[in-house]
C-alpha cells in the first residue's frame, strides 16, 4: 500500500544508504557482495544492482578506497575501505543523525501522549 510518506522514506533510505555502506567498511575492508549480504537482511537495499553506482560515487568522492585481493574460491575481489575523509564524513553524519532521530522521536512520542 502506498502511504503519503512513501517518497520521503525512500529518499531518506537512499540518502542514508551511503553512510550505512561507509559504516560497513569502517572497521574492516569488505567486498561488494559481503555488503549486499549484510544490507540484505535490513531492507535497506532492495535493488542489489544499485549498490554499484553508490560505491563508484563514494570512490570518486574519495570517501572509500579500493584494492583487489585474490580470493580462494573464485576470481579476485575488489575490497572497499574507508579513507580518512570518509571517516570524517561518517562521523559528521553520525552526529547529525543522532540529533535528527532524537528530535523526530521526541516530537512523535510527545504528540502520541497528548
Amino acid at each position: 500500500m502506498r502511504v503519503p510518506a512513501d517518497g520521503l522514506v525512500s529518499q531518506m533510505r537512499r540518502g542514508a544508504l551511503e553512510y550505512c555502506v561507509m559504516a560497513l567498511v569502517q572497521q574492516t575492508p569488505r567486498y561488494a557482495f559481503e555488503m549486499i549480504e549484510a544490507l540484505g537482511q535490513t531492507g535497506m537495499l532492495t535493488t542489489e544492482g544499485t549498490l554499484y553506482p553508490l560505491l563508484s560515487r563514494l570512490r570518486r568522492d574519495g570517501l572509500v578506497k579500493t584494492e583487489w585481493r585474490e580470493s580462494t574460491d573464485g576470481p579476485p575481489r575488489r575490497y572497499y575501505e574507508l579513507t580518512a575523509e570518509g571517516r570524517r564524513a561518517l562521523t559528521a553524519f553520525r552526529v547529525e543523525w543522532v540529533g535528527f532521530r532524537a528530535a523526530v522521536d521526541g516530537i512523535l512520542q510527545e504528540a502520541k501522549k497528548s
Partner: protein, 209 residues
C-alpha cells in the same frame, strides 16, 4: 540440475544493462557493467546447485537494468540526455553530402543528430558523393577501353580492332546502364537514408523516480 540457458540469460541481462547505460560516461558505464558481471559470478559461486531459476533470481535481485541505470544517473549526477532538435545544420548536411561532399561530410560529423554508424554510411556510400561518382565513372570508362586491341597501319587507319570480351555486348551494355543508374542514384539514396535516420526530437530515456 543444470542451467542450460545460464550464459544466454546473463549475457542478455548485461547487454540490456549496457544499452540502458548508453548515455553514461564511458568509464562509468564500463565500471558498472564490470561490477555487475563480477557480482553475478560471485553470486553463482554461492549457490549449491545451479538452475535457470537460480540465475533468474540472481538477476531479479540485481534489479531491472533501466532501474539500476536510472539510480546510477541520479547517484552519480549524470543528466539524462536532452532531446536534440535537428535544424538547418542537418538539412544542409543532407543536401550537401551528395552534391558537395567535403562540406556536407564535415556538417554531418559536427551534428549530434546521427549515430556514428549513419555518419560513416553517409561518408562512404559512395565516398565523395557525386564528386566521387564522377571520378569513379571516369576511371571505369578509361579502364573499359583497355579490353580492346586496336591495330593501325602506318597511315593511322584501323586495320584490326579486336576486343577481348567474352560476354555478349548487349549484356555488357545492360550491366553498364544498371551500374550507372545505381551509382548515380546512390548519393541520393544515402541522403534519403540520412534524412530518415535523423533523430527527430528523440526523447531522452525515462528516469525512474
Amino acid at each position: 540440475m543444470t542451467a542450460p540457458h545460464a550464459d544466454q540469460l546473463i549475457d542478455g541481462y548485461l547487454a540490456r544493462l549496457n544499452a540502458a547505460a548508453d548515455d553514461l560516461p564511458k568509464a562509468l558505464r564500463h565500471e558498472l557493467v564490470d561490477d555487475v558481471r563480477a557480482h553475478i559470478t560471485e553470486a553463482r559461486t554461492r549457490e549449491s546447485e545451479e538452475t535457470d531459476a537460480v540465475i533468474l533470481n540472481i538477476l531479479d535481485r540485481l534489479g531491472e537494468p533501466a532501474a539500476v541505470v536510472a539510480d546510477a544517473r541520479e547517484r552519480l549526477g549524470v543528466r539524462p540526455p536532452q532531446p536534440y532538435r535537428p535544424g538547418v545544420l542537418e538539412i544542409l548536411a543532407v543536401i550537401l553530402v551528395p552534391f558537395f561532399w567535403p562540406v556536407g561530410v564535415i556538417l554531418l560529423w559536427i551534428s549530434p543528430a546521427w549515430h556514428w554508424r549513419d555518419k560513416l554510411i553517409g561518408t562512404l556510400v559512395p565516398p565523395g558523393g557525386y564528386l566521387g561518382v564522377s571520378v569513379l565513372a571516369l576511371v571505369a570508362v578509361s579502364g573499359r577501353s583497355g579490353g580492346c586491341i586496336t591495330m593501325t597501319n602506318a597511315a593511322g587507319a584501323v586495320i584490326q580492332n579486336t576486343c577481348s570480351h567474352t560476354v555478349p555486348s548487349w549484356l555488357q551494355t545492360l550491366a553498364a546502364v544498371v551500374l550507372t543508374i545505381v551509382i548515380y542514384a546512390l548519393p541520393l539514396i544515402t541522403a534519403g537514408y540520412l534524412a530518415i535516420r535523423l533523430r527527430w526530437g528523440r526523447q531522452p530515456q525515462a528516469v525512474l523516480a
